[in-house]
């Protein structure tokens, strides 16, 4: 199997002779770098099909490696190890071990869909990222990511009531991922964020008139009402049950 990915080259395979003269010409140093071929034997020819069977991965086989996805990628601009084009390449070659090397960042895809929008082959790389992250969790290579915890909490509320309540999603997410909410409100950004919602800073500065002028009334009342009486869709019970059954059937064949 030909290997032309830089990250696939094992440093041990790169050979440079200190001193080398070929037919009287000194080619010492960089000019004589040689890369020994490496044979990969543990690839999985079924891997593209495995990923293709997961939600979002259906079109992974269509890729012709133009690189538009990585070129447009929001995450690649932050971290050049985040390389969808390369992961799609590895998927189609069955190089699972290469995917596993990047297990801690694949889930970070922000679903901005720049890749899916620009892809000339309709690979839908954003979906492939989700499928790969899903596979890494299924195979136990990664623990359930924060993102998956969030997705599940969100979906649970949708199936149960037809609608979500955003403070409940947020607090259940913090609880499930072990974030100390009290601390975050007391000392962290969340407290300041909440204080700004009520413009409490003004009160501390003694500008009561200005505080009253900016006092939100309808919003907090409505949000408080929602927190107590969870929003739900009328007549949703049957729909929720049908969707739950569909999900179960899809998961267990």
């Amino acid at each position: 199997m030909p290997i032309h990915e830089k990250s696939l080259i094992d440093p041990k395979q790169v050979l440079t002779a200190e001193k080398l003269v070929v037919e009287g010409i000194d080619v010492s140093g960089h000019w004589n770098t040689m890369i020994l071929p490496r044979t990969v034997a543990d690839y999985d020819p079924e891997f593209a099909r495995t990923i293709g069977a997961l939600p979002g991965g259906e079109n992974v086989h269509r890729c012709w490696q133009c690189g538009s996805c990585t070129n447009s990628c929001t995450m690649y601009a932050i971290n050049t190890d985040f390389n969808p084009r390369y992961w799609i390449y590895c998927t189609n070659l069955g190089l699972q071990s290469e995917i596993v090397k990047d297990k801690d960042i694949i889930w970070q895809c922000v679903s901005c869909n720049k890749c899916t929008s620009i892809c000339p082959k309709d690979v839908r790389p954003e979906g492939v990222m989700k499928a790969l992250a899903h596979w890494l969790e299924m195979e136990g290579h990664t623990p359930k990511s924060n993102s998956s915890v969030f997705d599940e909490e969100f979906t649970r509320q949708c199936i149960e009531r037809g609608r979500i309540e955003d403070t409940e999603v947020m607090f259940n997410f913090f609880r499930k991922t072990g974030v100390d909410i009290v601390e975050l409100v007391k000392k962290g950004w969340l407290g300041i964020f909440m204080a700004r919602m009520g413009n409490l800073g003004l009160l501390r500065e003694g500008r009561i008139g200005k505080f009253l002028a900016r006092l939100p009334i309808v919003g907090p009342l409505k949000m408080g009402w929602m927190m107590l009486f969870k929003p739900r869709t009328r007549g949703w019970a049957k729909t929720g049950a049908v969707l739950q059954a569909y999900l179960k059937e899809q998961k267990h064949g």
């Binding site: 939600p55 979002g56 929001t74 995450m75 932050i78 970070q108 895809c109 922000v110 679903s111 901005c112 869909n113 720049k114 899916t116 929008s117 309709d122 979906g127 989700k130 899903h134 924060n146 993102s147 998956s148 969030f150 997705d151 969100f154 979906t155 949708c158 037809g162 609608r163 309540e165 955003d166 403070t167 997410f173 913090f174 991922t177 962290g188 950004w189 300041i192 964020f193 700004r196 413009n199 002028a213 900016r214 006092l215 939100p216 309808v218 919003g219 949000m223 929602m226 929003p231 869709t233 007549g235 949703w236 049957k238 729909t239 049950a241 049908v242 969707l243 569909y246 999900l247 899809q250």
Partner: protein, 303 residues
Amino acid sequence: MAKVAYYPGCALEGSGGPYDRSTRALVDELGLEMHDLNDWNCCGAMEVKNVHPMLQTYMSARNLAIASEKMGFDTVMAPCNGCYHNLKKAEYECATSAETMQTVQDLAHKADDPVYKGDVRTVHLLEWLMEELGPEGIKARLKNSLRGVKIANYYGCMYTRPRQIFPEKDQGPGSESSYKPHFMDDLLAAAGAVNVDYPLKTACCGGAHTLSDSDTSTQLVLNLLQAAEDCGAEVIATECPTCHSGLEMHQVRAETKFGIKTKVKVLYFTQLLGLALGLSARKVAIHENVSDSLDLLAEKGII
């Protein structure tokens, strides 16, 4: 004038409350007609598709089916980019795959829900305003002005991407562009704003991981805020509750956690248009934003 079914979605019912209130006030003031979609459900946002894409397609299609079967409407209007995107995506998936359409209809029959038949279209609030009034219509109704306040128009991801699900975009003059959207620019310019040339109109705010990967989101939001300031903007106008909350939240987080302070204000475009139409700041819920823009608006003579 065409009536539409208004689909607020979960965010506008909660953290995006100011967007909901300013949308209703604006639509009312403009004399347009919309009716709340009966018994709507969550569209699936960015999360449900990761558990199973069909759940999301069904949940979105169910809302469309209610509009046509229960209310006799052919248009659903969503001001939230996430809702708009998902409903458009459900339209696209059902229109391009007979199998998906069949599954959606089977699930509807099983659940005794209205059945989606592909006869409803989704529009964003921006598109609806452009269709019904356009910049000229806004100009004719002005009672105030945005008085040259400098605005960076931020559209985010879900309004234009992936372009495949928005077949009506990129159709030449008059249509919206998926690469350089301009509907919000057009409406706000008509209301007296000066739009700055903002290169990050459709960049990502990291909304999908705003809590689960906060540092990435803070960095992405900082890009947006700092670029807006570098372009000379005093205000970033938003048209999506997730982007809006993300910008507000990470502006605070960048300051408290990383000590990076930015002063550009964040406002929903509906709040800005509302002010230009003579509505009060309280009526369009500006005091309920976390980003406190009242001083700036007063200084500019807008309120």
